[in-house]
Every structure is written in C-alpha cells, then in structure tokens.
C-alpha cells in the first residue's frame, strides 16, 4: 500500500525528469542564442547534428548493453579502431567504399564478441571487463598506426600512400540531402529502428526482461546468454558506425579519436534514464540525452571554453544524470 505514495512521488519526479530534460535543452538554446549571434544559424545547427550523430550512436550501443544489465565501456576505443580501420583501408590499401565500410563494421562486431566472451563466458563483471577491453583495443589501434594519424598523401616507405579518402566515403559524414545532413537521417533511421525493435518485437523485449531479472528470464525459457551476446555485438557495431562517421567527417584517421566520446555517450545514456521518468535505459531518452550534451558542448565551445575545461562540465553532468537515475531507481523499489 505504501507504494501508492511512492507512485505519486515517482510520477512527480518523473515529470521533472521528463520536462526537465526538454526544458534544459530549450533553456540552453535560449541562453546560447542570446549570448552568441552565431549560435542559432543553419551552419552551426548542422555542426551540432553531425557531432550529436556520432555521440548518439555510441550512446545507443551503451544503451543496449545497459538494457541487458551490462555496461560497455569499450565503445570509445571501438570507435577509434573503426576510424583507423576505415582510414587504413582507404588510404593505405586503396580500397573502395564497400570494403572501407565492411572492415570497420567487422572490427566492431569482433570487439562485441570479445566483450561477450569475457563477460558471458568468463563471467567477469561487465564494467571491469569492458574497461580492460577498452585498453586492449586502444592499444591495438595505437600499435597498428604506431601512434600516427592516417591521412591523404601521407608519407610511407617508398613514397606517399596510394589511396585517399574517396568522395563517396566523405559523403557519409559531410554530405547533405536537401538541407539535411546525411548523418542526421542515418542517426534517425538507427534510432527509430532500435526503438521499434526494443518496443515491439519479442526479442527486443527479452533484452529488458534480462535486465530486470536475469534468473527469472532464464526460467522463462529466454536464451539469456545469446541475447547478452547480441547486446554487446550491437554495441560494438554501433560504436563502429560512429567511428566510420567520425573518419568521414574529419577526413583523416586520427588515433584515439573516439576516446573522448565515451564519457559523452555514457552521460547521454544515463540522461536518457530520466527523460521519460521510467528510470530505465531507453533509446529515445538516449537520443535526447545526446542532443542535450551536443548543444551544451557546442555552446561552451562558442563561449571559448577550452576543450579540457569542458571535461569538468561533462563529468558534472554525468554525476547529475547518474544521481537522477539512481533516485528514480530507489523510488521504484
């Protein structure tokens, strides 16, 4: 019976969370618009959308891992690996678009399988296991490139690199369809697809059952390990797509380019907990979280806040988002 009171309180805090996130977005837009006349321009918004698309895809991967009760910390380094993979395929091996997409995607799946191996088969705690994998993957991409970025006409043994970033590849991150950046459409397709999958399909719901009570799920005949494996593979895959867009957007293969994205992605996913007042990971919430962070970082950059100081803001936001999600979780039980 006491739950009725809690329910009342939960509903109120749910509304704060729900409208709070949207209000925060509108508030930020208002503040940045007033303080900087360059903020509310097409060029800037297209910039925001491009960076949001990358972070949001990583966050989507993290969300999948969170839904099954896991946690994928390796998405940043997976994105780096995919960036380097795509760049090396194009520049060093002079391959065409399809190969330049398939190689990084395969690498992402591979990392996902690796994460599944250590968490499911070896039963290591998800947080620590994927942290370890994060270091391994980061080390691999650094070792492969010897710490150097990959770019058009870069000097290699016996001349310059044979290939280059081809226009069709660059279109992914830089092209537009009408006035809309191509990446925005890509992002929407993935998010709508993921949302429909998780909400309306049997397998999609099983992700949530496992996150809710893995033992009860097993006893309901749900293939818990297989679904968890799917979650990590999807996480690796989305991180790799983020990495491809990153490579395409900057037109070079920067080493460790994905590393700073991890924090943004995790924060976006946790802000997502609060968005609909459910206190649980969800895809649409994650998207809204990523947009909030994208706008904030863009605005801070326009205020000339240096990137290293932005980490302070990001960390603080993450604490806030975590706090909110744990409060909601506590009220639920």
């Amino acid at each position: 019976m006491a739950q009725l009171v809690v329910k009342e309180r939960k509903r109120i805090s749910g509304h704060i969370g729900q409208y709070g996130t949207l209000l925060a977005i509108l508030g930020l837009i208002a503040v940045f618009t007033v303080t900087n006349n360059q903020f509310l321009t097409y060029a800037n918004f297209s910039d925001i959308i491009k960076s949001v698309s990358i972070v949001s895809l990583l966050a989507l991967g993290v969300t999948f891992s969170l839904i099954v009760g896991g946690f994928d910390l390796s998405v940043g380094s997976t994105a780096s690996l995919a960036t380097i993979g795509a760049a090396a395929t194009l520049v060093l091996h002079r391959q065409e678009l399809l190969v330049a997409l398939l190689i990084p995607l395969a690498l992402g799946i591979l990392v996902g399988l690796l994460n599944a191996l250590v968490t499911i088969k070896f039963r290591l705690p998800d947080l620590l296991a994927t942290l370890a994998i994060m270091y391994v993957i980061n080390g691999i991409q650094l070792t492969y490139t010897k710490g150097f970025s990959i770019y058009d006409n870069m000097p290699i043994e016996g001349g310059t690199a044979p290939g280059r970033f081809i226009p069709s590849f660059l279109f992914i991150g830089q092209g537009t369809i009408g006035p809309i950046p191509f990446v925005a459409l890509l992002m929407l397709v993935f998010f709508i697809g993921a949302h429909l999958f998780l909400t309306y399909t049997r397998t999609g719901r099983e992700f949530y059952y496992i996150g809710s009570n893995a033992e009860a799920a097993r006893r309901s005949g749900i293939a818990v390990n297989r679904i968890k494996l799917y979650a990590y593979v999807l996480s690796g895959l989305f991180a790799a797509i983020g990495g491809i867009i990153l490579a395409s957007r900057i037109g070079t293969g920067q080493v460790s380019a994905g590393a700073p994205l991890l924090m943004d992605a995790v924060a976006a996913a946790y802000i997502g907990y609060a968005v609909f007042g459910t206190g649980r990971p969800n895809v649409i919430g994650t998207l809204i979280g990523a947009i909030l962070i994208g706008i904030l970082l863009n605005g801070l950059t326009m205020w000339d806040v240096p990137y290293y100081a932005q980490d302070i803001v990001k960390g603080t936001i993450l604490i806030g988002a975590l706090g909110l999600s744990y409060i909601q979780k506590k009220q639920r039980t």
Binding site: M1, Q3, Y209, S212, N213, E215, R332
Partner: protein, 457 residues
C-alpha cells in the same frame, strides 16, 4: 504497552486502515491475521514507524508519541521482516551481524565474538560466529535477526510470517523461542497463516479485513468456520472435485540429484495432479529444477515414450514444461516491469492477459501497473499466469501456495485442477500434507532426496 487509538491510514483516496484500535502488551504473543491486502503490513509499518498515520493516536505506556523508524528502535520496537537477506550483512561474519553497530564502540574481534556467543546461546543457536551469515539457512538467519534485536534491548518484536518458509521442526523451535522471550516480558506480534501456530502460542489475536478489526480476542476459542468467516467474509468448500487422469504414462524420468547424490524416478499421467510432499530441504525444489534443466547436469526425460535431453531451461520450455519457482521474487518476477509485461514474458502475445488474470482472480487496478505494487499472493498468481497464457503440457508448481492467504490458495487449487481437467500434467509441491490431499491424485513424499512414501489419495 503500545496502543493505537482509532488510527486511519489513507493513500490518496484509498483507505488502508480504517479507525483501527490495537494494543500490544509486554509478555503477549499477539497473533495478527488477515488476507493479503487486509492491512497487516501497514499495521506493522505503523508500529515500527516507517508509515505515518493519517489520523488517530499512537501511544507507548500511555504517552502519546509520533513514531519515526529511529524513535521506534529507541523504544525497543524491532521488526524481523520476511526478507531476512535484506536485513543481514551476508558476507560479514555472524558476530558482526548480531551485534547492533550502535552499541559497538571499538572493534575488538575477540570481545565481540564472546559477546555474540552469549546472545546466540540466548536464541538457541550454536553456530560459529566467524562464518559469514550468508552461509547459513533461513532458519538460522531469522534467529540472527532476533539475536540482534535482543542485543538492542528489544521490548517489542514484530515478526511478519517468520515461519512461512521454515520446515515444521524449524518452525516449532522458533515458536518455542518466542514463547521463552514472551515469558521474559517481550511483547510479540506474530503474523502467520498457520492455525496450529496460533492455537499453540498466541495469547490473543486480531483479525483484519479491509483495514478494519473484525475480531480481537483469543484464537483458541474460534471454530475453523469462524476463522474463515472473519478472514474473508465467506467460507470455502472443503472438497474439490478432482480430475480423472488418463491411463497411459505421459512423463517419466530417472533424475540424478547431485546435491543429495541420489536418484529419483517419477512418472506422471496426462490429466493428473501429482503431489510431491516433503519438508524444506527434502529435495522437492531440486526435483522440480532437475526436470526444468536447472540441476546443472543433463537430464534425460521420457515424454510419450520418446526420450529427450534437458540441459537448460530453454530445452524444458521447448518440450512443454512450465515452472513456477518457489522463490517468486528472485526467480519468477520481473519486478520493475508491468503486470502485463510479466504475464507475456513467455507467450509474447497480449490478447488474453486480462482473461488469464481473471481466471486466477488476481486483484489489480490496471495491467500496466508495476507488478511490484501487487501483494505477495497476487504476485504469485502473476508468475503462474505467465505460463497459463501459453499452452504448456507439464506444469511444475514449486510451493505455489507458500506465503499466500487461504482465498488465494483456493484460487490456485481450483486453477490447478482445471488444468488437469484440460489434460495437462501438474506436479505440485508442498510441505503440508493436507494441501496435497486436497488437490493431488497421487502423492509421493520426499526426504533427503529420496522417495520415502508413495500413494494415492
């Protein structure tokens, strides 16, 4: 003496307790009865300060008081909840569990161990105080909580169904302990569904129905019809018409149980309710889990003459098995999901959810409400419903009536027999023989992983 005077508790428009008066005297063992949702838990929460009354007055030894949880403990009101694991530090040694930390100033392990040993012997426990509390069974853990209560000078003990999950001998021992504490002047509230316990130990009992006191007085002077009437307003038919099993064996298996290093062979017919009896720890749960692929080893099972191997629950589900586990919260429910999502977890379809819930008489407001808001008996029915929405051949029901009230039990019995009448095979475990006699066509009785008795009803 704790006294509640005309207490009303409302949540929004819902009145949970209605002008309720209640007294708990030192040295009394006060039985508290009521169906799920009658207000027992709310009354307990009022007494231990976790819930505030909407109106009415609470007094201790004649002085009006506003109880908070800390204030309640200061007055020696200690609760031993059903979920003992939530109240213990499972990975810390026993002595750190029984000594309330408020009373410990310096950590001197040797002294603490000696002190713990003294209070452990007061509650009749002879356990090694250096072993982590989590390694002991439920019956010991409960005593650890009582020991902790004694160490913090408990004057009043509130026990919410302490015997529900105990075997008969364990329950007996616990009741003896409570009687001893009562003679030492401790006032005890005992929530239980078992009439023999109420007859044996209570000095007075209070019946709640829909938040009101419907009877206040000695339990021993009541007839069983009167008890049922006070609880539910009606009486239940004693006799259920059982199903008639078919003649050919439908399911047979020879199951090794690694825990007991034993083998159990069972066979069951279509349209039969097979009762599996035994005390806690007799192997009932292990037998059910073995059939459902949870024993950790491959089990071979013959269904309609064909042999199948089951090594994990997914295999069992494919073969038409359904398991309603004994520990519904840990193994059966998705607590942060809605009722609907729980019910469709197996079948995946949403069409007949409310029909299935209705067939078990689940009391709920809305299928979209979180399942955690339901009372224990209704949660149990939701776990059962999960398998009713889907068409299963063999239902394994492990203590399906544990911790639920008689009205809910009656609903479960009727549904079980209806399943058998549809030609399903039902395996039903219970530690209470009379319960098996009511529903089962045949009964096997287990002890230490072996069948010790077989028979019809």
């Amino acid at each position: 003496m704790i006294h509640l005077e005309r207490i009303t508790k409302q949540y929004g428009d819902v009145t949970v307790l209605d002008q309720l008066s209640f007294s708990l005297k030192p040295g009394d063992i006060h039985g508290l009865l009521g169906l799920n949702g009658a207000g027992k838990s709310t009354l307990i929460k009022l007494l231990n300060g976790t819930v505030e009354p909407t109106s009415g007055e609470l007094s201790i030894d004649g002085k009006p008081i506003w109880l908070t949880p800390a204030e309640a403990i200061r007055h020696g009101i200690i609760t031993v909840s059903q979920e003992v694991d939530d109240a213990l530090y499972l990975d810390l040694p026993v002595y750190e569990n029984v000594l309330p930390w408020q009373t410990v100033k310096w950590i001197r392990p040797q002294r603490l161990k000696e002190r713990a040993q003294r209070v452990l012997s007061r509650v009749g426990l002879e356990v090694d105080p250096t072993i982590p509390a989590g390694e002991y069974p439920l019956s010991v853990k409960q005593r650890l909580l009582i020991a902790r209560a004694l160490e913090s000078d408990a004057k009043y003990l509130l026990l919410d169904e302490p015997t529900a999950a105990l075997s008969e001998t364990e329950a007996d021992a616990l009741l003896e302990l409570l009687q001893k504490l009562a003679t030492e002047g401790v006032g005890i509230v005992l929530v239980t569904h078992r009439s023999n316990e109420l007859t044996r130990v209570t000095s007075t009992s209070t019946f709640l129905r829909d938040g009101r006191v419907v009877y206040d007085g000695p339990y021993q002077s009541l007839s069983s019809e009167a008890v049922q009437t006070f609880l539910s307003g009606t009486t239940f038919d004693a006799v259920l018409e059982k199903a008639v099993p078919e003649n050919e064996i439908f399911l047979s298996a020879q199951l090794p149980l690694p825990l007991f290093q034993s083998d159990i062979s069972i066979e069951a017919y279509r349209g039969e309710v097979l009762g599996i009896g035994g005390l806690t720890g007799s192997g009932k749960t292990e037998l059910m889990e073995a059939l459902f692929g949870l024993s950790g080893i491959r089990q071979s099972i013959t269904i309609e003459g064909k042999e199948h191997v089951i090594k994990e629950p997914a295999d069992a589900v494919r073969l038409g098995f359904a398991l309603v586990p004994e520990e519904r919260r840990r193994h059966g429910l998705f607590l942060d999901e809605t009722i609907e999502r729980n019910v469709i977890a197996v079948a995946g379809k949403t069409d007949d959810v409310s029909d299935v819930l209705k067939s078990l008489r689940v009391r709920y407001a809305n299928v979209k409400q979180p399942v955690s808001e339901l009372s224990g008996g209704n949660q149990q029915k939701v776990v059962f419903s999960k398998w009713l929405l889907d068409d299963r051949d063999i239902y394994l029901l492990d203590e399906p009536t544990k911790g639920i009230d008689i009205a809910a039990k009656q609903d479960v019995y009727e549904r079980v027999i209806a399943l058998a009448k549809q030609g399903k095979t039902v395996l039903f475990t219970s530690s209470e023989r009379h319960e098996l006699e009511r529903v089962a066509n045949r009964i096997v009785w287990l002890d230490r992983g072996q069948i010790v008795e077989k028979g019809g009803v």
